[in-house]
Symmetry: C2
Subunit: 234 residues, 2 copies
DNA sequence: TGTACATCAGTGAACGCGCGTTCACTGATGTAC
DNA sequence: TGTACATCAGTGAACGCGCGTTCACTGATGTAC
């Protein structure tokens, strides 16, 4: 990517690192992140355990890498939605920007494609684990795409600010939306509702709390998306 | 509870079981449920590891018991809200029933009081773990209290059914609300929105996804509660 | 083009650890007559 | 009230396991002259 030419050794190193991560994901998909074992991965690759230490300093570094990749894949999905929206816009016309519904669809597709990846990022936090800075930067990148979409949504007609002082609170604490300094509190509200409501449905679905109720999680998700884009975020 | 007289031995057994669970919760609070170790608990109690097998068949049984207690404590909190509402009602008048806001407060208090307990129930599912039937019964008990509250909320004025066929879907799959066969789909929608939206805010908060954003999770939670009870569930 | 050297991937043995669980046993507590 | 027996809590040793990680080493691959 950043370097044009790579030595064969560098290429090989990267290739093996990728294969390690691939096996790690398979293991996580099977038994969750807490069961991730370097020795088991090595075994699966036909190598001895210590060999992996040529590629990762230790288990924690591998997990951090997996978390980074998980964030990256979601951010890429968001970026793809933005790209597709830009392409669909007539040249010369002002950009329509990505729609909230399209972003919601990308989020759900990403989550459902690999539930354990979802939980690695949005599930029970690993005790004592603190995400490195570049990962929070990826999260900020996603938020920026979301804020773009929220900015494009026209204010709801006759929409008064809700009670409880939430708009004042958001106006006073908008550092997380620093990429969009001109957005009104209602748009910030919309972005937060997008995150929290959709994660609400997804986490209950993927944790299996809807199974046995006979409900179709996709429809519940869809209903929340509609509520966001039509009724607005309350 | 169910039996009037207990032999001293039975009393003692129960006492030790309680102490084991207490230490287990402490351990979970510190390092999460995956790090729960029978030997460590025994050590903490000044006993040898095998002694615990007098009280729990194995590690899984202990975890199941903890999950059950966690559900139980939340269900009790809900029941307490219902009880308080009944007491506040003038005798002779029809019961006002518990308010959604009061139930929401109970849910949040319960979750914030012990985040790891919250995640044991609503977080990343343990691979291969299937909750025994009596636990799903407790969940149904909570749902029943919630449905009571939803039944008491007057329909929103001019509230048409949302698009997307969600009301039809809920009408066709209402087995989970079998305790309330007369509720309209709008009330079922409200109950589901209560669960999914509040869990959305809570899980993001407790997993630390709002830290660093400078936002006050309690206010976000409060805003969602208001949106539920005022604007209605979309 | 060939040789001398440096780099680096991977191995096998080993360390120390803690885990869940089984087993045969000791000693205290309760029960029956 | 006392004795004989059954029940049960708890112990210590042991088994087998897999883990993360370190270390000294071998052999292959790349680099410099």
């Amino acid at each position: 990517m950043t370097e044009a030419a790579k030595t064969p050794r560098e290429r090989y190193r990267q290739q093996v690192r990728e294969e390690v991560k691939e096996k790690a994901w398979q293991q996580i998909a099977g038994s969750g992140a807490s069961a991730l074992s370097l020795n088991a991965i090595a075994r699966q690759m036909g190598m001895s355990g210590p060999a992996l230490y040529r590629y990762f300093a230790n288990r924690d570094e591998l997990i951090t890498e997996l978390v980074r990749d998980a964030y990256r894949s979601l951010a890429d999905a968001f970026a793809a939605v933005r790209g597709a929206a830009a392409e669909a816009t007539e040249p010369g016309a002002e950009s329509a920007g990505p729609g909230l519904a399209a972003l919601a669809g990308a989020l759900r597709d990403w989550a459902v494609a690999d539930p354990h990846r979802y939980f690695l990022v949005y599930g029970t936090p690993v005790p004592g684990y603190r995400a490195p800075e570049d990962i929070t930067a990826i999260a900020a990148e996603m938020m920026s795409v979301l804020l773009d979409a929220c900015a494009a949504v026209p204010p709801v007609s006759g929409g008064a600010s809700p009670d409880g002082g939430i708009d004042e609170h958001l106006s006073a604490h908008r550092g997380w939306a620093a990429t969009h300094p001109d957005l009104p509190p209602s748009a910030l509200r919309l972005a937060l509702a997008f995150w929290s409501r959709l994660h609400g449905v997804l986490s209950l679905e993927l944790a299996g709390h809807f199974t046995g109720m006979g409900l179709d999680p996709a429809r519940l998700f869809d209903a929340e998306v509609r509520a966001l884009t039509e009724g607005r975020a309350g």
